[in-house]
Symmetry: C2
Subunit: 694 residues, 2 copies
Amino acid sequence: MREASRPEDSLARIFNADSIAVIGASNDPDKWGYMLLNALMRGGYGGDLYPINRTADQVLGLPAYPTVGQVPGDVDMALVAIPAQFVPDVLREAAEKGVAGAVVVTGGFREAGRADLEEELRSIVEETGLRILGPNIQGIIRTPNRLCAMPWPFITEQGPLAVISQSGTVTAAIAEWAAQEGLGISAAVNLGNQVDLSESDLIEFFASDPHTKAIVLYLEGVKDGRRFLDAVDKAVKEKPVAVLKSGRTKEGQKAVASHTGSLGGSDRVFDAACRQHGVIRADDVESLYAVAQGLATLGTPKGNRVFAISTSGGSGALFVDEAGKHDLILPPLPAELAERLKGLHLPAFATLSNPLDLADTSAQNFREVVPVVDEADVADIHLLIFGDPVPGSVEMVEDLAGIVSGKLAVCYYGGGDTEKRDRQKIQSAGIPAFRTPESAARGIGAAVWAARHRQSHAGRRTEAPGRKADMSETGSRFVLEPEAVRLLCEYHIPYPEHGVARSADEAVRLAESLGYPVVLKVVSADVVHKSDAGGVVVGIQEAKEVRSAYERILDGVRTAVPKARVEGALVCKQAPGGLEVIVGAVDDATFGPTVMFGLGGIFTEVLKDVSFRVAPLERRDAEEMIEEIQGYPLLSGARGQLGCDVNAVAQLLLSVSRLVTDHEEIKELDLNPVRVYEKGLLVLDARVLEKGGQ
Amino acid sequence: MREASRPEDSLARIFNADSIAVIGASNDPDKWGYMLLNALMRGGYGGDLYPINRTADQVLGLPAYPTVGQVPGDVDMALVAIPAQFVPDVLREAAEKGVAGAVVVTGGFREAGRADLEEELRSIVEETGLRILGPNIQGIIRTPNRLCAMPWPFITEQGPLAVISQSGTVTAAIAEWAAQEGLGISAAVNLGNQVDLSESDLIEFFASDPHTKAIVLYLEGVKDGRRFLDAVDKAVKEKPVAVLKSGRTKEGQKAVASHTGSLGGSDRVFDAACRQHGVIRADDVESLYAVAQGLATLGTPKGNRVFAISTSGGSGALFVDEAGKHDLILPPLPAELAERLKGLHLPAFATLSNPLDLADTSAQNFREVVPVVDEADVADIHLLIFGDPVPGSVEMVEDLAGIVSGKLAVCYYGGGDTEKRDRQKIQSAGIPAFRTPESAARGIGAAVWAARHRQSHAGRRTEAPGRKADMSETGSRFVLEPEAVRLLCEYHIPYPEHGVARSADEAVRLAESLGYPVVLKVVSADVVHKSDAGGVVVGIQEAKEVRSAYERILDGVRTAVPKARVEGALVCKQAPGGLEVIVGAVDDATFGPTVMFGLGGIFTEVLKDVSFRVAPLERRDAEEMIEEIQGYPLLSGARGQLGCDVNAVAQLLLSVSRLVTDHEEIKELDLNPVRVYEKGLLVLDARVLEKGGQ
């Protein structure tokens, strides 16, 4: 058994291959082996091409070889398009030949009920060190070396975008838009069955690829959530990453499951994980393209201030509406600046505000205004919106780009031929040329958010020490509350003073020493819903009441759960009133331990006003998840009320994050309610569900 | 002074003009008078064209006339492109000549500080009966008679869409997309300054225009909200209406105000008015186009069940995610149907669910599957998603359209040339061909929603008897609570039994007759915030307490508001506990009296979880506004609680709607809180603000 080569090394040899063997190359135009070789030749691939065909001497005019072993020179990459059952043998032979990686286009594996064949490919990787992309993918494209190993879409336009996708169709849409609109791609690759190399390997590869400025993904699920976050953490330090993930809704998840067999964790957790780790999540495929435009061409904007200047007031208004959703601001123009602009002899009907409506289509106006505004340093991005064709726009934009370098964006609106042509030229010059005002807001907003995240999370550890999701079905058991409370104490999580009483007398002694009022709660492994079973008494004011409460609890529980083994009662000092919040943790199917936060009662149960972050949390994550809930004003002090100790809540979230990261055995944790005070907080009830048991 | 002609008659003569005078026609290609005449000639206008030019004998080869009065034949429409100051005289002359309507392209009126000139145009309408579109518009397009009186965009492709827009740029975007993608337009018209004919006149005109199947609008505000709703009510009985309105955000509203001077009412009220009156509101300009495609070509779907069949699983998943947001469902395929499909010899890797993923691009598969599924009657719409180019798609779609007539929609995904060409051909054949799976969901969702609304609101009165907004600044005054309560009683709105006491003795007598517990509230025109001023005492259990409460209230109020004139105290039977809701009404700046509903306290104040409907409400409106709030489960019975009397709440909303519709003097009304019980409800406090006064 050989050590498998490092994914990045194999991927480098695949994407930068100097020689390719097309296994299954064919002279029959209906065969994939024809279409792939033909695409490579049409694309102008400059390396050595070796058609492999058992019988033909030549394929498409190139000398053919019966097996890859018989190829005279070295082979970096094998492109495999033969029926599934022949693939394993051919891969073994390729490994023997020293091929670094195979792109297996062939379908008919797991998705067709042949999981066994797929297992065999996995064994070959382990045995030989050969790495595999696929099987069941449409191919790969790598534009810098004109390696177009994909019959459709056929793309040769080089640009800054790497497209990684679980759907050939989405790859095609994004890559073709990019090609036609002058953006271009550095590479496109489909994921297929991911028997070996995964989306995470590809993210890491493109993170250090000098031809790629932004990575966009279409995913239906993530194989290994922790590995994904690890790859993303590394990538976002270098360049922005955006993702479109289907399966947002329950129905969508079902559709996805039948497509790729992805059985995802919660979509809300995926969403939170993206926000936490700096990945932009797009809402639909058109937004993904707009986001890609922004990320690939705007670099790292210094801030979120946009100056918008348009030929048309309507487009300005549409931009402003969408800009607000992406946390962009359009600062008003200072009086002196407005004065300077007045001196420029702009059209009489121009509105000198931000957005600035020129009410005119002369390129000269833009040329005069933008440098003046730039000098006043009121904006981090200048957006030119052309609502009507602007003669000379391309030259004007190129000139301005020279002056306000890196801060320029264009929206060339409309569907006419002029607009399309000019948009393409502007985008080719490296300036984002958006199709609509709203997509401009999405693209600029994404670039600004990514830049901010990079800065604010600069210290994020890239080796996430978090655990993987453990989805083995081992059953589970509830931990007794005193045990759960001991666990909280280890992590300095505040719980009211307490003790466990095994008799009424002991309960009284404990209550007397704690001080009244106290609360009694049954301790029994057989009683999960303590209140429902009559196992909780609150507001106990004196010894007599303690005694009667103890008896009542025991009686009540025996009636509700006849065979319950009762170990006694937890006697707690009663906590003062306060705002109630809920802190929890779940083991997400994709990302493993994940912390949840929400306000108590109906806020969580009816309004689902909760936030998530994947453990381990950093301080900033905890703060963000508190601020993110709709009910946040209640915590921070709304309606004239004093605010709560938000700091203590953040501390609690961090402690819970550490607790569930350390304790692999925890499947669910539920601190509900947690009372938050002006200063400090108290956990009133802790429910911990452990794996294993029964 | 002549009676102005009816807008629809003038608009008919404008759009179907047999003869047009181009006033200001010019041989100078830089002049609007050249561009407009040239566009008309290029477009192939078949009627008589009369260039009007003071000096030239000919313009663009046509005989010219010095004035419109000197034109030998009749003139239906005058297209005016001369400097603003000359426009009034020319319009008077046109009216004299019997011209029905003028399209005034010229700018330089109100938007340039010449409100006086605009007033003059208004007088001309009143004096002469001539009707005006504009001024300050890019022109109009009417495709059925090849009347292209707009230099840009230049559109001649006839289709089912009428585009009405406050921005020439948005007109251009939508109309050019429609032209290029095979949808086409029946007309395009910009609104400009709307000195005379408004968006509402145009909506009514296109409502009865046989060439128009759907009306799409871009608005920045509405001049007269009631008139707009009236026009829309008439239109949606005939054909669907969609709108994109900017000014969603505060920032957007500012941008809009500086563009068209629209000073809109609340955007949330606009949103509610659209939902109430059957108008689809699109989120951005690309969605508006998708919605237009769906509305213009899908007619009136019978229900919301969609069967989706695709060449690619990924596109199916994206469709499903978005479909959920638009209330579309994808019913599972019944077992017998799945069996029948298995008999069709579909590709081995096909997934026979809904969406059905063929994993293959053969047109034949679609041809075989769709009729079988249609026969089983599991769907109201069949959506074919082509994720890769499908050879023979156009013929296949046309054949299927013949079989499942009216129920077919296509998404031809991707940006390649094949996709564009085929999409255009399919759309030209009258079948919607969407660009992405998500836009397909938006377009189909819109058609389904519009069809449902038409059915469920079929009985809506088209002459809305509601009042207009009254924005005159006349000041306002609070009505004394006993007076407000009398008003509630008139409308049978339940308020606790009560009486007004002018002395402590009287208060005791009242309390004794009402029965304890009672509540005392100060009655004083000078005390608006009764509780803050110590003017409310609750939970009074006996005569002694009544007496002391009465004194306490008088003392408290005198301390808090030294000069308050106190008339006595309202003595009310105390209402039992219950869920608290808020019902209110405001006078919206656009739509006038508007009813508001929300849950009490933080739900309204922090979460802004409220709904609106413009008065007068119909029963269904009231029900919808209750169900619309996020907290609805609390009302209908969440967390094991008994539900509240939702019916009584609906009744209350209807009563409030009648009350504010009848009483023009009411500026604001606030019933807060209203306690809702398992049966019935009680209004606990009524605050009414009237216009006039101080």
